[in-house]
Symmetry: C2
Subunit: 210 residues, 2 copies
Amino acid sequence: MEISAIPRLFPAFEKELQREIQEQGEIRFFKTEEQLMRTGQYFRSTMLILNGLVKIYREDDDGNEFFMYYLQPGQACALSMVCAAEHKRSAIMAKAVKETEIIAIPLHFMEEWMGKYKSWNHFVIGTYRARFEELLSTIDHIAFRGMDERLEFYLKKHQDTMGTNLIALNHQEIANELNSSREVVSRLLKKMEQFGKVKLHRNAIEIIQL
Amino acid sequence: MEISAIPRLFPAFEKELQREIQEQGEIRFFKTEEQLMRTGQYFRSTMLILNGLVKIYREDDDGNEFFMYYLQPGQACALSMVCAAEHKRSAIMAKAVKETEIIAIPLHFMEEWMGKYKSWNHFVIGTYRARFEELLSTIDHIAFRGMDERLEFYLKKHQDTMGTNLIALNHQEIANELNSSREVVSRLLKKMEQFGKVKLHRNAIEIIQL
DNA sequence: TCCTTACTGTGACCTTCGTCACCTATGGCA
DNA sequence: TGCCATAGGTGACGAAGGTCACAGTAAGGA
């Protein structure tokens, strides 16, 4: 996997940079539901996703997990860059949704490559940019929309990201990610079913028409 | 002003870069309440704040303005960088709070300097990083906190940024920025006054103890 | 000085959402 | 087949916050 994944996922990187990543990076595996990083943890490296799928959460003091966005293969965690560069604690939590493989780049390379490789520079900037827009969109939803719209958006996003109409989550799990409660999610889903938007199953929601 | 402001506000920039900024940048002035950029606008340049104070808002489709964060002299608008780089429309609105002076850098220099000046590179990355954290903190507040806490935080931020205990805003204006309503803000402020946290005046709020 | 206007205070009421209680349905397994 | 754990459904209720109506009050202009 190591041989082929880097050029395939990061085709814009110079050959030399691709080689350095393979040499200096450390491949790590995470099982489904395993945490890649925890709130409050210090970073020693930046992570590039090679395989699988990662979800990024913001946690409050009571341990509520608020889902913000997905990270897919070929993307990097902007926060690991933020924190790596400032030796600061993580403000977020990352969790593997599937079996996930990442490559961890020790943080001093991050800095070094910035001057050395133009493509790395672009990649870092591009990563910030993309995550920035995700955050803005997240703010929109919680600032201006009600739970009904947010739930629908959440399901849509899940559908697009996972590439399936069958969402294998129970109501409690969805409620947690939206920082709401199981009953509210159940009620809203029921309403959506009445409108023909979804079909409800045990432990799963089938998207009909959103 | 042009002569002294750049080295003073951006001391980390190489002399050569400081000179280029002065040569290539275009100084612009904005009056209080004037918009530096509007939602939906295209960018042709990145803006560095030289003087004054700027507030950044997210707008929804109905024209509600949700306040996100301040930009002070020596800072840059991360979004102007995001959009400049992708020739995309602005997703935010920026408004001058005081008489404000900025220097606009045509976007092709942004790219050029990235390879040419290490300090420019650092500045851009640092700008993203700082704004990223502001957004995360904004998300925290609207996701996990009630209006009472958010109002208090808003006042505190205003106090720190403006450096005064007297906040010259009426309740309606505050409500708009928090995406709430005048009555709610009035009620909460009254409660804060009873707790001795503030003293209410016409068109102004005096911070006593937050 | 008086009048108009904008700002503020407050009670009544509604909607949304969170919480509690309790019930039903489903599926695995002894 | 029956038991039980887990998921889902639903009514009742309360809190937060948005909306409406209206009253009081200060400030600035005529």
